[in-house]
């Protein structure tokens, strides 16, 4: 037994002498104490977007092997990938469903943080960064949907950028910037593609780095217990011995692993039962009868149907500002009225409006996500 052991030591020494890493620091980081409430999965929702991001990057790289961002070829390259390439349908369906689950996971994480008031001092900035992450994810969705370049995705891009153009002052510039011209065309596809595979991933990684740095630095909000002083929070040994904390590795890593497996199984089930399809090729001269964005933009789509454009845009801006600066507004509410139930009530109202508008839009035209349901009904 001594021989392989000494050989292993030599190998470890080889790298230790050449890579100036302080392994003790990593070990310390890996054993970070996590409050016991994190054993419940709904508190561990923050890791799910990270798992989905890894899946999206992997499948996304696979998709770029065949995708061609050119108006004449984009549709056919996606069709070829879906119908001819070995397991191409699976990769594309996984990517599509992971994107949908990503929006859901980020929203669930956001609701959990909101309703447990985990955004309060000193975590206000991390809430704002989290909002930035949500908007980046939505940006991913918008640019990615357009890349397929079938009728629905073409018109979604056309309508989406058309709405942006209605924004006062910057709207016109913004639309030209995104489209690279007057209408969706060659430049649009290049720009959407670059944003989807280059700009948004970079932005996301930067924000994610800041998000993780802040929450590791500030520690996880210890719900239902008194906040530790910085000196106490540094004493990991005592914290772990107190029984109210457990180490990140291996205990929490195990939880995340189980979640990752569950997510992979769910994605595979969804991909098999409702694989990503492709409609008819984009036709710039004929708008299809029903156009609809992805479900996570239903809410905005409904607002635009219900109110005049300027008002709808104004409402959206107000909602976004309310959401982003909520930690400070929350403090103001507490100071003015001192009613702790006001904030959650406001959040519930906001969630209610969001769900109501989304469901309303969902049953207006097509059914959620897909056109499979009408097809099923008409076929039987």
């Amino acid at each position: 037994m001594s021989k392989p052991d000494s050989r292993e030591r030599a190998l470890v020494r080889f790298f230790k002498e050449r890579v100036p890493l302080q392994l003790e620091v990593f070990e310390q980081l890996a054993k970070e104490p996590i409050p016991n409430h994190m054993k419940r999965w709904w508190y561990a929702l923050g890791g799910t977007p990270l798992i989905l991001f890894a899946i999206l990057v992997t499948t996304g790289i696979g998709l770029t092997f065949y995708y061609i961002p050119d108006p004449d070829q984009a549709y056919h390259s996606v069709k070829y990938l879906t119908e001819r390439v070995y397991f191409g349908w699976y990769l594309r369906s996984m990517h599509k469903w992971a994107a949908n689950l990503m929006v859901i996971a980020v929203m669930l994480h956001l609701f959990r943080v909101f309703f447990t008031s985990a955004y309060r001092k000193p975590r206000e900035l991390n809430w704002i960064i989290g909002c930035g992450l949500l908007f980046t994810v939505l940006g991913f969705g918008f640019t990615g949907y357009a890349l397929v370049f079938d009728q629905l995705s073409y018109w979604a891009a056309q309508v989406g950028t058309g709405l942006a153009a209605k924004t006062p002052v910057v709207g016109d510039f913004f639309q030209r910037f995104m489209l690279g011209g007057e209408v969706v065309g060659k430049n649009t596809l290049s720009r959407f593609f670059v944003f989807h595979i280059g700009v948004w991933p970079t932005v996301l990684l930067a924000l994610l780095g800041a998000h993780i740095f802040l929450f590791r630095g500030l520690g996880i909000a210890d719900i239902g217990a008194k906040q530790l002083s910085p000196a106490e929070a540094r004493d990991h040994e005592t914290m772990l011995k107190s029984g109210r904390y457990f180490p990140f590795f291996p205990n929490h890593a195990m939880t995340e692993l189980v979640i990752a497996l569950a997510v992979l199984i769910l994605l595979t089930e969804l991909s098999i039962l409702w694989p990503a399809t492709i409609g008819v090729p984009a036709d710039p001269v004929s708008t299809p009868a029903h156009i609809q964005p992805e479900w996570y933009f239903f809410f905005q789509f409904q607002l635009l149907k219900m109110f005049p454009e300027k008002l709808a845009l104004g409402l959206q801006l107000v909602m976004v500002l309310l959401m982003v600066f909520w930690p400070f507004i929350d403090r103001l509410i507490l100071k003015l009225w001192n009613k702790p139930w006001l904030s959650p009530a406001f959040g519930l109202a906001g969630l209610g409006v969001f769900l109501a508008l989304t469901i309303r839009e969902a049953f207006h035209g097509y059914v959620l996500f897909h056109d499979w349901f009408p097809r099923l009904v008409s076929g039987l």
């Binding site: 070990e27 890996a30 054993k31 696979g62 092997f65 065949y66 879906t82 119908e83 001819r84 390439v85 070995y86 397991f87 191409g88 349908w89 990769l91 369906s93 590795f249 291996p250 205990n251 890593a253 195990m254 098999i272 039962l273 409702w274 694989p275 990503a276 399809t277 499979w372 097809r375 099923l376 009904v377 008409s378 076929g379 039987l380």
Partner: protein, 183 residues
């Protein structure tokens, strides 16, 4: 038997802990250790290998398959509006359809081709669909997929239609252009 009954009773952390140099803990028995590593290696290695093979096959674009014209039957064996099923030596099924003899408007009798053929292998998960002559649709019983006479998806989960096979009629004989497959 004895060893197997022991493994589930172990806490889920013991195997994951093994790699980390952490505080002293009850040492897991060598047998349980061995079983745990057999389980881990026995699932991780095949999964990684399978994933690698599938990944490599994905990366390589599908090659254009060579094909052969095969003589299948006499045209008169399939009456107008009727169908005929062929099974090849590998167990795959092909359905030959014949339109009712009416030539569609705008098409000359010379170019009108009344025969169509489809592989009955459902594009969803590979069950065999069957031809429902009454409603003139292909139906796959596994997940209720429905395809029309042109093999296009009408209902159900398949991502694409049925694979169409080119049919040629020469001197009253029906030929099909069948792609070569790996045996």
């Amino acid at each position: 038997m004895n060893d197997e009954s022991k493994t589930p009773s172990g806490s889920p952390n013991t195997s994951a802990d093994a790699g980390a140099a952490s505080a002293p803990q009850p040492a897991p028995g060598p047998r349980r250790d061995f079983l745990a590593s057999v389980l881990v290696v026995g699932t991780a290695v095949p999964a990684a290998l399978g994933g690698a093979v599938m990944g490599l096959r994905y990366v390589l674009p599908p090659s254009k398959k060579a094909q052969a014209d095969l003589l299948m039957c006499r045209a008169e064996e399939v009456a107008p509006g009727e169908s005929k099923i062929f099974e090849n030596v590998l167990g795959n099924r092909i359905c030959l359809l014949r339109d009712s003899e009416v030539v569609p408007p705008g098409e000359s009798t010379a170019t009108y081709r009344p025969f169509k053929a489809f592989s009955l292998r459902c594009s969803h998960l590979g069950c065999f669909a069957h031809w429902e002559g009454g409603v003139r649709k292909f139906v796959c019983p596994c997940h209720n997929a429905v395809f029309n006479e042109d093999g296009e998806v009408v209902a159900g989960p398949p991502p694409v239609g049925l694979t169409r096979i080119a049919v040629e009629v020469r001197d009253g004989l029906v030929y099909m252009r069948i792609p070569y497959v790996k045996a």
